[in-house]
């Protein structure tokens, strides 16, 4: 295996310099973040580069971190190089007030529904998406249910006391 995480890291910092942040390796998978207006440039670079060749979008989803002011939503891309059998995780953070992120549909057809799903559940507004509408939830829904402010169980219930079961009253977690 010639393509190592260190090499990918080196190529990325050569190309994008300080923009690449939060570089870490967990469970053998390289993970890094970039500013959200660079997401397409980073993916295009990873796709086109003769040595990197990350040409398969495995997964696209989002995570909500309500406590990180200004970067509440993380859009997570998992890219895969089939030849070298290397995966990497790439994140862009966006604030919850302005959730615009460029769409990856021009690069990967598969991003189409995955972005719709991410929009459906987290409200990430993928700019340039050909058909950004809800996919799994009903069209009439007015909120984005996977955000942490929506607790799974009805918080107004008083007949259940979960205090002793490891899930006290704090919302969402």
């Amino acid at each position: 295996m010639s393509l190592t995480n260190d090499y990918i890291k080196q190529r990325l910092t050569e190309k994008f310099g300080e923009s690449i942040s939060q570089v870490e390796e967990s469970f053998g998978c390289l993970s890094f973040a970039a500013p959200k207006d660079l997401n397409l440039k980073v993916m295009q670079f990873l796709y086109d580069d003769e040595e990197l060749q990350f040409r398969f979008l495995t997964d696209l989803t989002a995570v909500h971190y309500p406590n990180r002011t200004g970067e509440e939503l993380a859009v997570v891309y998992h890219l895969h190089n089939f030849k070298e059998r290397v995966r990497l995780r790439f994140k862009v953070y966006t604030s919850i007030e302005d959730t615009r992120v460029f769409t990856a549909t021009r690069l990967f057809e598969s991003a189409n529904w995955m972005e719709r799903e991410t929009y459906d559940f987290f409200g990430v507004n993928f700019v340039g998406h050909p058909n950004l509408k809800r996919i799994l939830n009903v069209d009439e829904m007015t909120y984005f249910p996977m955000r942490k402010e929506f607790p799974l169980e009805d918080q107004t219930r008083t007949d259940k006391d979960d205090e002793m079961f490891g899930r006290g009253g704090h919302i969402g977690i």
Partner: protein
């Protein structure tokens, strides 16, 4: 009379208009709850749009409130034709997070169950392709053996369809001699039926005419559309998670990956058949390997995460404490972030897990192969006949549970 005669239709004539046909959400040909709005000109499909989400059950949200061991039953209901693979995939994800090393015997037992699940998944799919092209008998030949496979699950975990099989760290109990007997019986009888099925279908002129060149996709497009599993391999890409990133000791086994060339329904059919043969060979190898291993090991020695046996809970203090801790979700879970893929029946089934150290995941995302490749359906059937669209759908092996999560 060599020149073809065309009827000239006036502008706005009703024959010139296309019509809309709703294939689904509940239609005998869709084999699941999802809708395709087809714009058809006669019998030819001009354009189509797929609507999914009819059985969305918010598993990812539910998982955020459940302790890890309670998430296994949720994974059952993704691809319910091969739920053991989903269960094992989830166990392995958690084991990776917690750094649990499973003994070889557990790995091999898992391989047996996962390959059995792959066979049941593929035999349904291929049988149904036959049914949709008008050949019902092949389906019946194979279906008998799914019953046998389900009896094996039943022997091991007590349930058949939504199995909830195994635990984090291994299996809930050891395989009984009856289970091994049934596996041996399956290994003896299934190849005969599969051979018969192949003789019936593979070179059947009618079946070939109905499936060859139907719903083809090039390797490049398939990769761009995020295809994985048999559907990608039918297009000629030899990507298989079992080989590219071996898990559960798949590296100890000797098997090949069948690939196709055109990515059409016929190639997908052949690839699935080929995979069933490979799975049978893997189960055989695993059964032989098991003979050299101690027969009483069926879980890793991790008392803090593996539910103790019930009899021990009633008689031993320690077992009771661990039982209580695990059930109440007090077992220590490390914070971490990982993506763990397994080769499911339909392709790469991935678990993207973020743990913040709490009793339930901070975020859990299922990469569902069906959901991702179904978006190519509109492209695959454009310009095809209505009856081809039905075969194409069943040969993609769309499982509504996996589409909607």
């Amino acid at each position: 009379m060599s020149e073809q005669q065309h009827i000239i239709l006036p502008e706005g004539s009703i024959e010139r208009q296309t019509q809309t046909l709703n294939l689904g959400p509940t239609h005998p040909a869709t084999h699941g709850v999802f809708q395709n709005i087809l714009e058809i000109d006669g019998e030819r499909i001009v354009s189509s749009e797929s609507t999914v989400g009819y059985i969305h059950r918010a598993f990812e949200k539910i998982a955020e409130r459940r302790p890890y061991y309670q998430i296994t039953p949720l994974t059952d209901r993704l691809n319910y034709c091969s739920s053991p693979i989903n269960n094992m995939g989830w166990h392995m994800t958690v084991e990776k997070l917690l750094g649990i090393q499973t003994p070889k015997r557990v790995d091999y037992l898992r391989v047996i169950i996962m390959e059995l699940a792959r066979i049941t998944d593929h035999l349904i799919c291929n049988g149904v392709v036959g049914v949709d092209s008008g050949a019902f008998s092949g389906f019946l030949y194979l279906m008998k053996y799914r019953e046998l496979a389900y009896e094996i699950y039943e022997e091991i975990c007590g349930s058949r369809l939504t199995t909830n099989i195994g635990r984090v760290g291994g299996f809930e109990r050891n395989f009984t001699p009856a289970a091994f007997e049934k596996i041996e019986r399956f290994l003896k009888e299934y190849p005969v039926a599969l051979k018969e099925f192949e003789t019936l279908m593979n070179r059947n002129r009618i079946f070939m005419e109905r499936t060859q060149g139907v719903g083809p996709i090039s390797a490049e497009r398939a990769m761009n559309y995020g295809f994985t599993g048999p559907n990608l391999r039918a297009a000629g890409v030899d990507y298989d998670v079992r080989v590219s990133q071996p898990y559960s000791s798949y590296e100890d086994f000797d098997f090949s990956i069948p690939v196709g060339t055109t990515g059409d329904c016929y190639d997908r059919f052949l690839v699935r058949n080929g995979e069933m043969w490979e799975s049978l060979s893997i189960i055989r190898q695993a059964m032989d390997k098991l003979k050299d291993l101690p027969s009483d090991v069926y879980h890793a020695d991790v008392p803090a995460y593996y539910l103790p046996e019930k009899s021990a809970v009633y008689t031993k203090m320690e077992a009771l404490i661990y039982h209580f801790k695990i059930i109440m979700g007090e077992a220590d879970i490390l914070p971490g972030e990982l993506y763990n893929p397994v080769e499911g029946g339909n392709g790469e089934l991935g678990f993207y897990l973020i743990s913040d150290g709490g009793r339930s995941p901070y975020r859990l995302h299922f990469r569902r192969p069906c959901f991702i490749y179904y978006q190519a359906y509109a492209e695959l059937i454009k310009g095809a006949m209505l009856s081809d669209a039905v075969i194409c759908m069943s040969s993609l092996n769309l499982i509504a549970g996996e589409l909607d999560a």
